[in-house]
């Protein structure tokens, strides 16, 4: 996922216009609105059990769950992190360790290990975990879920290459019937067997998955992947496909009471949750709202306790200054990047790309738009992410005179700068337009809804795009491969010699130098080797002037005083866009 909303709504634009009008009144009522009485930030104390919590979510992103929560058919697993964590708990969680860094922690899984060649991941499950319907979460349940996930065609399913050359173990007729009944009608027996070959139950609590190529980022992707969310096969058989999307049964801290798609999700405590004393809350609800402005007003009106992932900097500041609430920024992971399309003019000329580097002053943008709060980056991760490199040797920084000279040498430079039509991105592109114009570059901005931006990328007919790159793991989600791999439809990096398109490059087996560097970054499970590979990638991108990087900004959690928990007032690095919240440990002062 990019930092952009899943669907940027017309209303969102309207909301922003309205926000200007309502700003004054908001400032006045902010004092009157207040929050529930409770202790202020920094006075959390010991967790207490009980209470209800309502979480507001932006309808344009995590508040949008039109495909429901069946892990095999949901298309929004990467966006709906909180809801999925609350229902399913997850095999692994991303948590913040004592050093303040993000770390993958086995949750329903007890441990994991890769084979020596790095091609087989074996996961040991905790024993004794039950789904909320009383059936066991065991290796067969994982196999049942994973085969479904790779069979239903959900766009959330990971794009990994499974090794189907191993002999598949024998399963009971009951298991096979349950699995077959839960697969799409057009799945062939051959396909099922192929997946059962790749994904195997080794014993009752051990499962493994075989890949054809090493994927060093594989485990790090779990918290944003449907593979993490294990649902009850028995409940599926009982409910049927359509109902299960609405009321799936997992082994997470909460069970579904009511689910109105993309509107409201009501959950209640799972008394059979495997962690003793958890969850703290009795009831948890997720309510979609039309953007930050409405969400913050609803919070003030007492209709919610948390707003997940507020990205409007003005509203974040207002929220932080409103008594009864705190605005907690997440650790920065994905910086803005100006992708330059090297496959067509003007950026097929390195001088034009260099001119953009020299004309771009992200420091000034950080001061002007983000109050100096955003982190600066010269590569595809910020300090909250893995393999962070604060500075890249030889990186071209702001130098107006050099930019002017290059533009003059080129005989002028005209650029279309595309972006996804959300407030922050638009503000950044407007600032860039001003800066670039100072260097003599003629700039037009083309802001479009996300769907149109995707289409624009896939046509290949674009010049420059302001997007975000990287994630907590640079090779997860909309990572460095998606932005810079020659076969990715969202890349502007050069095609391999002899290929006229990314697809052709794949067919002919051609790769560019950058492709090889990118492949090396995931071709090992050794963190040190991965770090070296990412440094080489960042240096290569910088040397070739493919894409200036800038401010790494993360949305904030707006939390009512008295509400505490990992991912809320205890920041966790954002996996891709928003940070995940571990709702089993969220509590509120009574």
């Amino acid at each position: 996922m990019s930092r952009t909303a899943k669907h940027t709504t017309t209303t969102g634009r309207v909301m922003r216009a309205a926000a200007m009008a309502a700003g004054l009144l908001l400032a006045v009522t902010a004092c009157a609105g207040g929050g529930a009485a409770g202790e202020g930030p920094g006075e959390a104390g010991d967790p207490v059990a009980g209470g209800d919590l309502t979480v507001l979510l932006d309808a344009g992103f995590s508040g949008d769950w039109p495909t429901g929560f069946d892990p095999a058919t949901s298309n929004g697993v990467g966006a709906n992190l909180g809801q999925n964590a609350a229902i399913f708990g997850g095999l692994f969680t991303l948590e913040t360790n004592d050093a303040g860094e993000g770390e993958i922690v086995p949750n329903q899984a007890e441990s994991y290990e890769f084979s020596d060649d790095g091609l087989v991941l074996t996961i040991k499950l905790r024993e004794g975990i039950e789904f909320s319907d009383g059936t066991p979460l065991n290796a067969e349940a994982v196999v049942w879920n994973w085969v479904r996930i790779f069979s239903w065609g959900s766009t959330s399913a990971p794009t990994i290459r499974l090794d189907d050359t191993r002999p598949a173990p024998e399963y009971s007729p009951e298991f096979m019937e349950s699995l077959t009944n839960a697969l799409p009608d057009d799945i062939t027996e051959e396909e099922v067997n192929s997946r059962l070959s790749s994904i195997q139950a080794v014993d009752e609590y051990t499962v493994d998955i075989a890949l054809t190529v090493v994927n060093g980022a594989f485990v790090n992707t779990f918290p944003t992947s449907p593979l993490n969310n294990i649902a009850s096969p028995a409940a599926y058989a009982e409910q049927g496909h359509e109902q299960f999307k609405l009321t799936p049964v997992g082994a997470g801290p909460f069970t579904v009471v009511n689910n109105t798609l993309s509107d409201r999700l009501d959950l209640t405590r799972n008394d059979a949750y495997f962690k003793e004393g958890l969850p703290y809350l009795d009831n948890l609800s997720f309510q979609a709202v039309a953007g930050g402005q409405v969400g913050f007003q609803a919070l003030q009106a007492g209709q919610g306790d948390v707003f997940e992932g507020l990205s409007d900097t003005t509203l974040i500041e207002q929220a932080g200054n409103t008594p009864g609430f705190q605005a907690v920024p997440g650790p920065a992971t994905s910086p803005y990047v100006i992708q330059l399309n090297t496959r067509q003019a003007p950026f097929d000329d390195k001088r034009a790309r260099e001119a953009i580097y020299y004309a771009t002053n992200f420091e000034a943008i950080n001061e002007g738009l983000f109050g100096g709060q955003a982190e600066m980056s010269q590569s595809f991760t910020a300090s909250g992410g893995l393999f962070h490199m604060p500075e890249i040797e030889g990186y071209r920084t702001y130098d107006l005179e050099k930019a002017k000279a290059l533009v003059e040498e080129l005989g002028g430079l005209t650029v279309e700068l595309g972006t996804t039509d959300i407030t922050t991105a638009r503000s950044v592109t407007t600032a860039l337009q001003t800066q670039w114009q100072e260097a003599g570059i003629d700039v037009t901005i083309d802001a479009k809804p996300l769907g149109d931006v995707i289409t624009k990328f896939t046509t290949g007919d674009w010049e420059s795009m302001l997007q975000t790159a990287g994630a907590w793991d640079p090779s997860a989600g909309i990572g460095v491969q998606v932005r810079f791999g020659s076969s990715s439809p969202f890349s502007g990096a050069p095609l391999p010699e002899g290929a006229s398109s990314g697809e052709e490059a794949v067919q002919l087996g051609l790769t560019s130098e950058l492709d090889d560097l990118l492949a090396a970054s995931v071709a090992t499970i050794d963190p040190e080797e991965r770090a070296a590979a990412y440094e080489a990638i960042a240096t290569y991108i910088s040397d070739e002037a493919y894409a200036p990087f800038g401010t790494a900004f993360t949305p904030s959690q707006i939390v009512r005083d008295g509400v505490h928990g990992p991912g809320l007032d205890e920041p966790i690095p954002a996996l891709s866009v928003n940070q995940g919240v571990l709702y089993d440990r969220v509590w509120r002062a009574q």
Partner: protein, 345 residues
């Protein structure tokens, strides 16, 4: 009745004494209904074609949009085939049309739900909001206009005109945010978001729809009030029949209400008919702001995800509602005004 006032245009005919049912079943009114229906059917057909063409012309690839950025080209292609987008546009249109007449309104490519099942849950929400918004707008506009027209240039007239002008200048989405700030954030009287079904909790339902209804209805009330006030003043100051009524001893309030308003109501009726489309269009934004799970929100979500079956049906329903509303207004004209019923005009 007003039959004593001999030159009031709509009040002279003996047919005024007939019941509404009788009037509806008179041959002239039936003729008008049939005639309007005959016009409405091809009109709706043209609307359906236009909607389809507009959606075809929309930028973006529905399959790519539905698949998201993470999807592989193979996944996008599979989805395109699943959505039927690999078929020619005319084939898809006639397939949709055939489905419409056979009760199959299509399936949402995003949620996988049938459009008909989505409509069943969402249409009542929108109808409730729209109906109440009309009630509120008329309920506010008529007394306000009468009060203002009672003494043109007087204190009430000036205050009401000022308020109407001011509120008219406020777009309904801004109105919505302001209402939330005052009644939800400030006074904590009404919920800022969410919808409570009437069958679940009637009081809660009323509370949940109050602000959306006001946000939709208040600008409309101002519009109606301004129009009605102007028309009433015109009637009172420039028409002989009011002078005659007054000369016969009819008081100013009675002259306004029983005589002038009766004639002005025809103009108001026209406006109401014309505004059905505007009002329903307004629900697209208002339902989103207040998180009301109605047709407006369904359409917006559909449009953002290029969910063609959903958008197509929503736009068609919106258009059909406007056409039907105008048809109803035409029929009411005929029922209320004998000149139209009998072709005098």
């Amino acid at each position: 009745m007003t039959s004593s006032v001999t030159n009031a245009p709509a009040a002279v005919d003996g047919a005024e004494h007939a019941t509404l049912l009788q009037r509806l079943t008179t041959a002239p009114v039936l003729r008008i209904i049939v005639k309007r229906l005959l016009i409405a059917i091809p009109l709706l057909f043209v609307v359906s074609v236009l909607v389809f063409m507009l959606l075809e012309a929309m930028p973006g690839d529905p399959a790519q949009n539905a698949a998201g950025m993470d999807a592989s080209p193979e996944q996008v292609e599979a989805l395109r085939a699943q959505m039927g987008l690999d078929r020619p546009a005319p084939e898809r249109y006639f397939s949709w049309l055939f489905g419409f007449f056979t009760g199959d309104l299509g399936t949402s490519i995003v949620s996988g739900q049938t459009v008909s099942s989505m409509l069943v849950t969402r249409l009542p929400v929108t109808l409730e909001i729209v109906f109440l918004a009309f009630v509120v707008s008329i309920g506010i506009a008529i007394p306000a206009a009468l009060l203002a027209a009672r003494k043109p240039g007087g204190v009430f007239d000036r205050v009401i005109s000022f308020l109407a002008m001011t509120l008219l200048a406020v777009p309904n989405y801004v109105m919505a945010l302001l209402l939330v700030l005052v009644f939800s954030v400030g006074l904590r009287m009404l919920p800022a978001i969410g919808y409570v079904p009437f069958m679940t909790n009637p009081i809660g339902n009323l509370a949940s729809v109050t602000l959306p209804v006001l946000a939709l209805g208040l600008p409309l009330a101002c519009f109606y009030a301004r129009f009605l006030r102007g028309d009433l003043v015109e009637q009172v100051t420039r028409t002989d029949y009011i002078d005659t009524a007054r000369a016969k001893g009819v008081g100013p309030w009675r002259a306004l209400w029983m005589h002038a308003f009766r004639n002005s109501s025809f103009g108001l009726l026209t406006l109401v008919g014309l505004n059905v489309g505007t009002l329903i269009g307004g629900t697209v934004i208002i339902e989103q702001i207040f998180q009301m799970p109605g047709l407006g929100m369904m359409m917006l979500q559909g449009a953002m995800s290029l969910d063609l079956a959903v958008v197509q049906m929503c736009v068609f329903i919106f258009a059909a509602t406007a056409v039907i509303a105008n048809l109803v207004v035409d029929v009411l004209y005929a029922v209320l005004d004998p000149r139209i019923r009998y072709g005098n005009h």
